[in-house]
């Protein structure tokens, strides 16, 4: 009898050994793996960017397609009427250079805004006029239920009169006197001129007409355009998308793959592109992206939090590493409509107790490698500031958290299961709708693909377990998609908590009011939070003439905890070749202006 290594053993061992060897190889690369500073650049007039594949091209946002990459892609092809910047130097935060119109003239006691367009043209040479603005208005007014930016009472419901003065001028009269800064920053930011002379039809073969002038016609046109936008494989061939107002045109589009933008030769804006091409390359995970970045095969990428220690290596290879701070907040969404956990979340003391178990400063420092900062309320801190939780209403305090639970009738069982011991609505009881024996156990629906997020929830789960609060972490690719706004009777309402903030949960427009997030029935109020006092304060921010209303709103929600505030990570830690100019400053509102980029 002979001893031998069986074939199966070899196969199994080889599979595992290969994995180890791969890792060993990577480790072995250490600080001297080969990559050249110029390698990967496809020439000095092209730049390759790590970027998720956008999946929406129509510049009217649709529910489920509001991801950041779609906004950046959309702006490259179709400019919004106004562009904004947060450096505090411009009236209403309007970027005078990039915007397609002059700042609005306010009259009629603040109710009428008159807007004059600058001289611009479509890529086919047709001038951009108020007809193109009217076309956009007709489409969103007739189809507001299909528009992701719509909120009942908001634009265009708050427009009393919309009038076209001439080819260059139009005016908007509002139903009430709004805070002009709010209206300009958060309402007019949605206006995007659309090429009426190309799109105003209801089929590919129909002639362009004034179909959208009537609500019925506008519905048909909108359906036609939406259907075309839902067919990504035709993005680079459909004639609809060939006429643009942006600095770029779409040269090639591979669904779920690479996207190539080429400089628009007929671009009429003043910020002409300096590069001839931008290649947007998607990656399946942080690790995959970082491997390619480290190998020098992309010009612009990002450093995952787990690899922050590699910053100096990247810098030695000719990359500039720079955090991209966002005008954003990050939170853990609670589902108030969940038939089981909703009654628990409706108890303010319980939300406070849970919040006090989240050690934001330490998580930001250790797990996010100092690339995150605590979120204390709904109004973001100035990007890059507030690295501690000094201003937070409920800082990390497990002892106080425990005390709060016990004082409300909960039997706290450390590392066991905390349950309600004193049901009822009295001051020392669990609260309305909470039965005796109700356990504190929740499921968090989180995101896959972010190592720091996984570690963060391991830490939070651990802290909660110490007070007998059982947290189950379920990671899915798209946590927003599986945790929709819902009614208690719906099957989809079984989720407890949702996290989608690995790159920040919410990026504000220039005016950080919460009408889309925390107002009752707001479009992005996924957890159905509702508080009349909050509604009143949110509404006040739209009418107040100064910052006091915003402060009052922030202070109230910071304490009321509509969500659990979480460490707010930078959008990403960008790494770009040092020869690439114009990347900075990185827009806190999460847009990218490739036309500013150039090679030294």
């Amino acid at each position: 009898m002979t001893s031998r290594i069986p074939g199966r053993a070899l196969r199994g061992a080889v599979a595992a050994a290969a994995t180890i060897a791969l890792g060993a190889g990577l480790v072995g690369c250490g600080d001297n793996s080969g990559s050249s500073e110029d390698g990967g650049s496809q020439g000095k007039d092209t730049v390759t960017v790590a970027f998720r594949t956008p999946n929406w091209i129509l510049p009217i946002s649709a529910p489920g397609f509001t991801q950041g990459e779609n906004a950046i892609f959309g702006q490259a092809l179709y400019r919004s009427l106004y562009q904004y910047r947060l450096d505090g130097t411009a009236q209403y935060n309007i970027d005078p250079q990039r915007s397609m119109a002059e700042p609005p003239q306010v009259s009629n006691g603040g109710r009428t805004l008159t807007i004059t367009l600058k001289d611009n043209s479509w890529s086919d040479g047709t001038p951009i006029t108020t007809r193109d603005i009217q076309f956009w208005y007709d489409l969103v007014t007739a189809n507001k239920d299909k528009w992701a930016s719509y909120r009942a009472g908001g634009f265009p419901d708050n427009v009393e009169k919309w009038s076209i003065e001439d080819e260059k001028t139009f005016s908007i009269t509002t139903t009430e006197v709004y805070n002009t800064a709010w209206f300009v920053d958060n309402q007019l930011n949605r206006i995007t001129p659309l090429p009426q002379h190309v799109w105003d039809k209801d089929s590919a073969t129909a002639e362009v007409s004034d179909l959208a002038s009537s609500p019925e016609g506008a519905k048909k046109v909108f359906d036609f355009l939406t259907a075309a936008a839902k067919d990504p494989k035709t993005y680079d061939s459909n004639e609809l998308w060939q006429v643009n107002s942006g600095a770029w045109k779409l040269e090639e589009y591979v669904p779920n793959g690479e996207v190539t933008l080429a400089a628009q030769p007929n671009y009429s804006g003043t910020d002409k592109p300096k590069l001839s091409k931008v290649v947007l390359r998607p990656f399946t995970s942080d690790d995959a992206e970082f491997n390619v970045l480290r190998a020098g095969d992309i010009d612009y990428g990002y450093v995952p939090a787990a690899n922050m220690s590699q910053t100096s290596y990247l810098e030695s290879k000719g990359y500039t590493v720079s955090p991209w701070y966002g005008w954003s907040i990050t939170y853990l969404q609670l589902n108030y409509n969940n038939p089981k956990s909703g009654v628990l979340f409706k108890q303010p003391y319980l939300r406070q107790s849970l919040q006090m178990l989240i050690d934001q400063p330490t998580i930001s420092k250790v797990i996010w490698s100092d690339t995150a900062a605590p979120t204390c309320g709904p109004v973001p801190a100035k990007p890059g500031t507030n690295t501690d939780a000094a201003g937070c209403a409920y800082s990390f305090d497990p002892a106080k958290s425990k005390e709060l639970l016990e004082s409300h009738g909960w039997k706290v069982t450390p590392d066991g299961q905390t349950t309600c011991q004193s049901p009822g609505t009295g001051p020392n009881q669990c609260g309305e709708g909470i039965a005796a024996g109700t356990p504190l156990e929740f499921t968090v629906t989180s995101q896959t693909g972010f190592a720091a997020t996984t570690k963060m929830f391991a830490e939070i789960k651990s802290q909660m377990a110490k007070l007998g609060i059982q947290l189950t972490i379920k990671e899915v690719p798209d946590s927003v998609a599986v945790t929709p706004t819902c009614k208690p009777t719906e099957a989809s309402c079984s989720w407890d908590m949702s996290f989608f903030g690995s790159q920040g949960s919410w990026y504000y427009p220039a005016f950080a009011s919460g009408e889309r997030l925390f107002a009752t029935d707001a479009p992005v109020n996924l957890g159905s939070y509702s508080n009349p006092e909050a509604d009143k304060l949110i509404e006040a921010t739209q009418f107040a003439g100064d910052e006091s209303a915003l402060t009052a709103y922030n202070d109230f929600l910071a304490r009321d905890l509509p969500v659990l505030w979480m460490p707010n990570p930078v959008y990403q830690v960008s790494a770009y070749r040092s020869g690439l100019q114009g990347v900075e400053p990185q827009d806190p509102m999460n847009l990218m202006y490739f036309q500013d980029w150039s090679w030294k």
């Binding site: 009898m1 001893s3 031998r4 290594i5 069986p6 199966r8 053993a9 199994g12 061992a13 599979a15 595992a16 050994a17 994995t19 180890i20 791969l22 890792g23 060993a24 990577l26 480790v27 690369c29 250490g30 942080d286 690790d287 970082f290 480290r294 995952p304 787990a306 690899n307 220690s309 590699q310 290596y313 050690d359 330490t362 998580i363 250790v366 797990i367 590392d415 896959t448 693909g449 190592a451 996984t454 570690k455 929830f457 391991a458 830490e459 789960k461 651990s462 802290q463 377990a465 110490k466 189950t472 972490i473 379920k474 990671e475």
Partner: protein, 300 residues
């Protein structure tokens, strides 16, 4: 000729009783050094995973952000700590428990299901055989890892769920093997005699087909266990394993890769090596058992 003479001359009356079949098998198994090494490895790994925590006690429930990425030996952590402060050696033991339990249970489940269905299909033949084997063929035509990933993405993974998922698809191999055995065994005289005396088909399967195919079944079971451990590792590596703070070696390997560039080698090598060793151990044991059963049959 001399050889023949010596051989003939060596035949003498033997007063010692014949050794039992199991004992013969054990002897042959023990002659296979690699099989012994495999058995030793398994005992060692299982001992470390299940008894180790009694000696080397660590907190695998609570994170400790003040002690992340400690190198081996620092602050009493023999194998260092990971990105949330879990002791890596303790985690290796905890992860090993999951990997071994899920691997063994899934392997046993697949073997039981496969053996029963294979024996029934092979013995009864006809439409029963056709139906079972077409199901096997159909399921074998789809890569099993793909099916595991699909199911793991649909349901929330847990240890019992992983056992069911892997067991639900890993029975195909044993079913085919046992069916082949059953096709041969059903025409044997003792089976025919039993049937002639009024024995039922169920009794034939239970008392004759399965017992006589047991050698094949046991050998295959060891490979099933090894495969199941690897599948657990694959799924966890792809992010479809049991969520934290539960651990298994595949998930630890995956996490370790994310930290590779940071030089935290202790998060990568130990789980990887552990997977190699446990898979090798089961394959060596299976190889030894195959020899043992084959020899036993030959000597009988």
């Amino acid at each position: 000729m001399s050889t023949l003479s010596e051989a003939v001359g060596s035949v003498e009356p033997n007063d010692t009783p014949p050794r039992g079949l199991w004992r013969q098998g054990l002897t042959v198994f023990c002659e296979n050094r690699l099989a012994l090494v495999g058995l030793g490895l398994f005992v060692l790994l299982a001992g470390v995973c299940f008894l180790g925590p009694l000696v080397y006690q660590t907190d695998q429930v609570h994170t400790d952000l003040t002690a992340v990425y400690l190198a081996p030996g620092e602050q009493g952590h023999l194998l260092g700590t990971d990105g949330v402060g879990y002791d890596q050696l303790g985690r290796l033991m905890l992860g090993g428990q999951t990997s071994i339990i899920v691997g063994l249970a899934a392997g046993v489940l697949a073997t039981i299901v496969g053996t029963l269905l294979g024996a029934i299909a092979g013995f009864f033949g006809g439409w029963v055989d056709a139906a079972v084997m077409r199901v096997v063929d159909a399921m074998m035509s789809i890569p099993s890892l793909f099916l595991f990933m699909l199911l793991a993405a649909i349901v929330t993974p847990s240890a019992p769920m992983l056992i069911l998922i892997i067991g639900a698809f890993a029975w195909l191999g044993p079913a085919r093997l046992v069916r082949g055995e059953a096709l041969t065994l059903r025409s044997r005289e003792y089976v025919q005699a039993m049937r002639g005396m009024g024995g039922t088909g169920g009794r034939a399967v239970r008392r004759h087909i399965i017992p006589n195919a047991i050698g094949t079944v046991i050998v295959n079971a060891t490979f099933q266990v090894a495969d199941a451990i690897l599948y657990v590792a694959y799924l966890s590596f792809l992010g479809l394993g049991i969520p934290p703070p539960a651990a298994n070696w595949g998930g630890m390997l995956s996490d370790g890769l994310a930290d590779t560039y940071s030089g935290h080698w202790w998060l990568l090598y130990p789980p990887g090596i552990a997977i190699i060793l446990i898979v090798l151990a089961f394959n060596f044991i299976g190889d030894g058992l195959r020899d043992a059963f084959e020899v036993r049959l030959r000597r009988r």
